[in-house]
């Protein structure tokens, strides 16, 4: 079981971000308060990671991720866009499902398990459909319930 923090306030549905940068800023805003980490620090880490290569995993999905000091658990944030946005995507589908995680610097073995879990979950067309149809944050969060994750 991987412990994660995911609450209503970490989720944005019908979002209207228009650029990759504004998406990363939005994630930083959503996660700053619950994690207690400065938004600029979160943004910087996510941005540095994107510079190495897009975290798009194809089919309209991206998983921006970064390691951060001073947090104890992984924090998850989810943004569903009304209109897909160019995300340096690895295929020709722009991105409209963004599932972002920040994880403790120290324990990145867990981080990888979480990434693997999320990418295989989001590979399921039914899950993507469910997320695109969701109208509020609780429907989104419900889609992420699984035996592998413990919401704390």
């Amino acid at each position: 079981m991987i412990k994660i923090k995911l609450e209503d306030s970490h989720v944005s549905v019908n979002d209207i971000c228009k650029t990759k940068k504004s998406i990363l800023e939005k994630i930083s805003d959503l996660l700053s308060r619950p994690s207690g980490v400065n938004r600029n620090d979160i943004f910087k880490r996510l941005y540095e990671r994107e510079k190495l290569g897009s975290t798009s995993i194809g089919k309209g999905v991206a998983i921006p991720h970064a390691r951060i000091d001073d947090i104890e658990y992984p924090f998850l944030s989810i943004i569903i866009l009304d209109e897909p946005v160019e995300f340096d995507n690895i295929d020709n589908l722009d991105v409209d499902i963004i599932v972002s995680i920040i994880v403790p610097e120290k324990n990145y073995s867990n981080h990888l398990e979480l990434l693997a879990h999320l990418s295989s979950k989001l590979d399921d067309p039914l899950v993507r459909k469910e997320l695109r149809r969701a109208r509020n944050s609780s429907e989104i969060i419900k889609s992420f319930h699984s035996d592998d994750l413990e919401f704390i």
């Binding site: 510079k51 190495l52 290569g53 897009s54 194809g58 690895i90 295929d91 073995s109 990888l112």
Partner: protein, 126 residues
């Protein structure tokens, strides 16, 4: 779907090569992750991490693992990764990454040959 790429290198070499290649090429067309190996790392821990990275990166098309100098800890770890669809090429240089970037739709087998060719072409008397 595309092949995923994992760079397993000494300290920060992988990051710097990847940043430079991305800047020269204009973009990085692959899903890439980095694994840096330092003197104080335990090879078994790193191997376990490498396997998790590979699992994450493999969307069915396999993973190309590029590592720096052959016979050292990073390449030894890379060669022990237990995974079905994987190719490992050592001797990482900028020319190798750039050549790979040119063939984002190649299969794992083809791409591993492009990596090898790119790496070899990058070494010559000027």
């Amino acid at each position: 779907m595309k092949v995923g790429i994992l760079l397993v290198t000494h300290s920060d070499i992988g990051r710097q090569l990847l940043l430079t290649a991305t800047s020269v090429f204009g973009k990085n067309p692959f899903q890439v992750e980095l694994l840096s190996v330092d003197n104080f790392d335990q090879p078994n821990d790193v191997k376990e991490l490498a396997e998790k990275y590979v699992k994450f990166l493999d969307n069915g098309s396999g993973v190309l693992v590029l590592t720096d100098i052959i016979g050292t800890t990073p390449s030894n770890i890379a060669s022990c990764i237990n995974h079905e669809r994987i190719k490992v090429v050592a001797g990482l240089n900028l020319s190798m990454i750039l050549n790979v970037f040119n063939y984002p739709d190649d299969s794992l087998d083809q791409l591993s040959i492009k990596a090898l060719e790119g790496g070899i072409q990058g070494v010559s008397k000027v």
